[in-house]
Assembly symmetry: C2
Homo-oligomer: 181 residues x 2
C-alpha cells in the first residue's frame, strides 16, 4: 500500500507521545494497520530506525510552523509558541521531547543524537526570538535570553506531562503565567 511508511511513522509518533518509546511495540502498530509485524520491519528494520524518523518528523514540523510565523511580531510569535500545543491537551499527549527525555539513557545512540538536535533547535529559535523581542521593546525580562528560553520551554513541557496525570487546569495555568511576559 502506498503511504504505509508515513502511516507507520504517524502511529509511532502518537504512541511515543502517549506511552513512551519503551512501552510500545511493532505489534501495536501492525494491529492498527491490520498488517503483520514483519511488514513494519520491511519499512524500518529496527525500532531505532523508526524512533529516529519520529523525532525527525517532529523537527520538520517545528521548522515548518515557526517558519510560517516569521512575518509576525516577536510578542505574537512567542504567544504562538506558548499556545501551539493547545490542540493536543484533550488527547493527553506530550511533546516528543517530554516523552523521550526521562528514558534518554535507554535510547539507541541514533535517537539520542536526534533528540539532542531537536532540543537545541527549539532552544536556539526561542532564544533568538526573546533576544530580538527585548531589543525592539516588545518583550521584557531580566534573565539572559537563553535562561528565559530554557525556563519557558521547561515550564511548557512539563505542564503537558502534569496534564497527563492531573487532567485539570495545569496546562492553562502555566500558559497564563508565561503569557504575562
Amino acid at each position: 500500500m502506498k503511504g504505509t511508511r508515513e502511516e507507520i511513522i504517524n502511529i509511532a509518533n502518537t504512541l511515543i507521545r502517549s506511552v513512551g518509546y519503551n512501552a510500545f511495540s511493532y505489534t501495536d502498530i501492525s494491529k492498527k494497520l491490520d498488517i503483520k509485524n514483519a511488514a513494519i520491519h520491511y519499512h524500518f528494520p529496527s525500532k531505532a530506525d523508526l524512533g529516529v524518523e519520529v523525532i525527525k518528523k517532529n523537527l520538520d514540523a517545528f521548522l515548518r510552523i515557526t517558519d510560517s510565523w516569521k512575518e509576525l511580531g516577536y510578542k505574537q510569535q512567542l504567544t504562538e509558541y506558548i499556545t501551539m500545543h493547545n490542540g493536543i491537551i484533550k488527547k493527553r499527549l506530550t511533546c516528543v521531547v517530554g516523552s523521550l527525555s526521562p528514558s534518554f539513557d535507554t535510547l539507541p545512540p541514533s535517537m539520542q543524537k536526534e533528540l539532542h538536535n531537536l532540543i537545541e533547535t527549539i532552544i536556539s529559535w526561542l532564544s533568538d526570538l526573546l533576544r530580538k523581542g527585548r531589543e525592539n521593546g516588545e518583550l521584557s525580562f531580566n534573565e539572559t535570553p537563553e535562561e528565559k528560553a530554557y525556563t519557558i520551554h521547561s515550564a511548557l513541557l512539563s505542564a503537558l506531562l502534569m496534564n497527563k496525570v492531573l487532567q485539570n487546569n495545569v496546562y492553562q495555568s502555566v500558559q497564563n503565567s508565561l503569557l504575562k511576559i
Copy 2:
C-alpha cells in the same frame, strides 16, 4: 539479610529516576544485591508493589524535608525548594514525577493513584507557601498562587529532564530565572 527490603526500594528508586519504570527489571536489582530475582519477589510480589513503595518513599521524603524548613521565612523556603535537587544534577537523575508521568498510562492503577497523590501534595504545599509569602510581602507575583506553583514546579521538573539530555547549564539557568521572584 536485615534491611534488604529497604535496599531494594532504594535501588528501585534510583533506577526509576534513571531510566523509568518500564525500562528496569527485577534482575537489575538482584544483580546489584547479589541475590536472585525470586528473592525480590518475596519482598515485593509484583513490580507494581515495588513501584508504589518507591513513590511513597518520595512522598515521605518531601514531607520530611519541607517540615524541616518550617521555621524559615517564606522566601527562604522557596529558595530551599528551588535548590533542593542540586545534589542529583551530576548524577543525571530526575525526580520521580518527571520519570513516571510520560508513561502514566502504562502504569498499574495503584501507582497512578500514588503518583497523583504525590503531585497534589507538592502543588498544595507550594501554593500555600506562595500565597502566604505574598501576603506578608516576602514574595511578589501577578498570577494566582496555584498558577505560580504549577509554573515553578513545571519549570524545575523538566529542567531536570533537559539536564539528562543536554548535560549543560540548563538546570542552573532555570534556577536562576526562578529565583528572581
